[in-house]
């Protein structure tokens, strides 16, 4: 067992990448991802991590070089945020279609404009359909665990999909937390070397990324979609194995005090911790409030999700991104859609909060829970409500 030490989460993530024995790193700096890649550069520079660090000239090239490296058979990592993720956009779709299992940490940050380095989820919500396995970490320990797990999941021959881990910029990336880093031997036992079945190798030539004529494009996409959904089984298996080895459990949908809850708050990422405090406080006051968050966001864990909410009267979905002119926040819209045909479903209330680094306080969560309780008897009129925004 590794030791528990106080560490900045970004540093711990870089250490996890080292423990995973990444062979190629291609990354371009952007706040608040910088500490991750700076520490990785350091680890490579002082020989602690025997990897090639490609100091690319943009995020577009970061992801392009990363794909070239995975295609050649090297374990590959990259990391970015907001504008950088948006710049990768075009290439992000190509990774899963070519089944190139790169691992990426996204330090979530608001998208411009106005330019903002602070945290929300607008960057990743714009990338929901890229076809990557998408995970959320709530705290530093989860971030470390998920990074190591991500390589094993992504590179499994029954998966072979790129995988990303969301960590909230600053509120998670820059905080110091007690974190247990597993020992190298433990990680080695958990994570075998990357040995893809198909790779760029002159000893066994193959053509990667050919033209998809109309006669085959649709079938190729269907095959991709099916393979993607099937990754679920491996993800669950990997988490089971992780729990056995390290004693920490991971589930597609994480719940907290939801059993008899009348109102359940749903929020992804590190602010679920603040929400937890609000839930505890309200429980003490006798209010039946619970909490839920997605650990696995893609492929969407529809079974687990429907099951988790089947007995809940009101679900308050808190989005940290806007869908301008849409019918709710991105998570709210998706959740409503996932529940529409469910036999038993909660009433869904959608809040938008914490855009561009606006604090979402314990009181804000209490307010949202109270407002949501109001809809136990009434249907919400608006598609969503904004919380914590000044009116004047």
């Amino acid at each position: 067992m590794g030791k528990r030490v106080a560490k900045e989460v970004s540093i711990a993530i870089a250490d996890a990448v080292k423990l995973a024995r990444a062979e190629v790193i291609a990354a371009y700096p952007i706040t608040p991802q910088t500490h991750i890649v700076e520490h990785l550069s350091e680890l490579v520079a002082n020989g602690e991590l025997d990897a090639e660090y490609i100091t690319v000239e943009s995020e577009h090239s970061a992801i392009s070089a990363a794909l070239g490296a995975v295609a050649t058979g090297a374990r590959t990592f990259t990391s970015t945020s907001a504008q950088g993720l948006a710049l990768m956009h075009e290439i992000l779709f190509i990774a899963p279609a070519l089944r190139l299992p790169v691992v990426m940490v996204v330090a979530n940050r608001a998208l411009s404009a106005p330019i903002s380095i602070w945290n929300d989820h607008s960057d990743i919500m714009a990338e929901r359909d890229i076809g990557w396995i998408q995970l959320w970490a709530e705290n530093g320990q989860e971030a470390v665990d998920l990074v190591i797990q991500a390589f094993r999941i992504a590179e499994d021959r029954n998966v072979m999909f790129p995988t990303l881990i969301n960590i909230d910029g600053f509120t998670l990336s820059h905080v110091i937390e007690p974190i247990e880093l597993p020992d190298q031997e433990e990680v080695d036992a958990f994570l075998p070397p990357f040995k893809p079945k198909y790779k760029l190798d002159p000893r066994k030539p193959l053509t990667m990324g050919p033209v998809g004529v109309p006669e085959i494009y649709f079938e190729a996409k269907k095959a991709q979609d099916e393979a993607f959904k099937n990754t679920r089984r491996v993800i669950l298996r990997v988490w089971k194995d992780w729990a056995k080895r390290f004693g920490r459990e991971y589930n597609p949908v994480e719940t907290y005090r939801t059993e008899d809850a009348e109102v359940v708050l749903l929020i992804n990422g590190s602010q679920a911790e603040t929400a937890m405090t609000a839930v505890d406080k309200m429980r003490e006051q006798g209010k039946k409030v619970g909490l839920m968050r997605f650990r696995l966001w893609r492929p969407f864990p529809i079974q687990e999700f429907r099951k988790a909410v089947s007995k809940i009267p009101v679900l308050a979905v808190i989005d940290r991104a806007l869908t301008p002119g849409g019918v709710g926040g991105p998570v709210g819209t998706e959740v409503r859609s996932a529940l529409y045909n469910a036999a038993r479903r909660p009433r869904v209330v959608n809040f938008i909060a914490g855009l561009g680094g606006r604090d979402v306080t314990v009181e804000d969560f209490e307010e949202m829970a109270e407002r949501a309780a109001f809809y136990l008897k009434k249907r919400p009129k608006e598609a969503y409500e904004m919380i914590g925004v000044r009116e004047s």
């Binding site: 190629v24 291609a26 090239s61 392009s64 490296a69 050649t72 760029l200």
Partner: protein, 312 residues
């Protein structure tokens, strides 16, 4: 002089490699200069290569699934990133060799292939990054002087006066209004060990340059002139003739820049008039004698500049 280059004897008619890493049966137009040049380049490189191809004619015509013309490992990811993908491949090979996961002594040439659009325009940043970082790879630009794959739109490598679908001549236009971007010079500015221009009309020279580019350690850039009958309004059977004419008129000079030193690899002592070259192509049909004269002056000046550089 670079030791790898001094050892290299060069190809001749007698010792041409038999291997065809790029197989026939692709879908390029008849007389396509790009596919001819690419075939020669691949023959020079052999089979211990990994090819990273940008979107463009060559990518499209060689890889319509389930068919492929590639007998060597080949990857296509997008239009503007061939150099970045090649960077990743090169870095991966290094790491895998160090980790004992790829035979240490097996040399693999990493090759990026892109058109003039994928090189001079949308891919220039990725190219510059890869050259600057010093990856050991060869970048081949197949220059047919326009975006052919999307229907003959102008690029920054389209020559002055040329008609394309986005530089049409008209009441207020003579066709392309800008002078061709000089990408080899941009490559030279990166201080890389090897830069060359080549033409399929001089196929041994082309093959030798591509091979040298592969032999040097570090980044190498080869800019290859490639007639496109479809986009230029020429006959397929005239492509090689035209490629020769481009050199003989000094329109496309052949040279090498080895560690910063210029060498004219084909000195043009009795140049043919540029007009002869222009008149042979529909894309220049609309040009007036005044404009042709202007082009002639520019061609002469550019060539003079190269001669001076080679005398330094």
């Amino acid at each position: 002089m670079i030791p790898e280059l001094t050892k290299f004897k060069g190809f001749s008619i007698k010792n041409l490699p038999k291997e065809e890493p790029l197989a026939p049966g692709h879908r390029a137009c008849q007389g396509c200069g790009e596919i001819l040049a690419l075939r020669m380049a691949m023959k020079a490189l052999g089979t211990d290569v990994i090819v990273c191809n940008a979107t463009g004619c060559m990518e499209i015509v060689t890889s319509p699934f389930p068919h492929t013309s590639w007998r060597v490992p080949w990857i296509h990811i997008a239009f503007e990133n061939a150099a970045a993908v090649a960077s990743g491949v090169e870095a991966a090979l290094k790491a895998l060799k160090r980790h004992g996961r790829f035979p240490k002594n097996r040399h693999v040439d990493v090759v990026a292939v892109a058109g003039d659009g994928g090189t001079a325009d949308i891919g220039l940043q990725a190219l510059s990054g890869a050259l600057e970082r010093g990856h050991d790879f060869v970048y081949i630009c197949l220059d047919n002087e326009a975006y052919m794959n999307t229907g003959v739109q102008r690029s920054s490598c389209t020559p002055f006066g040329a008609m394309t679908t986005t530089s049409p001549p008209g009441a207020r236009s003579i066709g392309q209004m800008t002078w061709k971007k000089n990408v080899p010079q941009i490559a030279v500015a990166h201080g890389i060990p090897y830069v060359a221009t080549a033409s399929p009309a001089f196929f041994l020279d082309l093959m030798n340059k591509v091979k040298k580019a592969a032999l040097v350690k570090g980044p190498a850039y080869v800019h290859i002139y490639a007639p496109c009958p479809t986009g230029w309004g020429t006959k397929g059977e005239d492509s090689i003739k035209l490629a020769r004419l481009a050199v003989d008129t000094k329109v496309f000079p052949l040279y090498e820049v080895i560690e910063g030193k210029y060498y004219l690899t084909r000195k043009v002592t009795k140049p043919k008039p540029v007009e002869e070259y222009l008149k042979a192509q529909r894309r220049f049909r609309h040009l007036t004698p005044e404009i042709i004269e202007e082009i002639q002056r520019r061609v002469d000046a550019e060539y003079e500049r190269l001669v001076k550089l080679s005398e330094l």
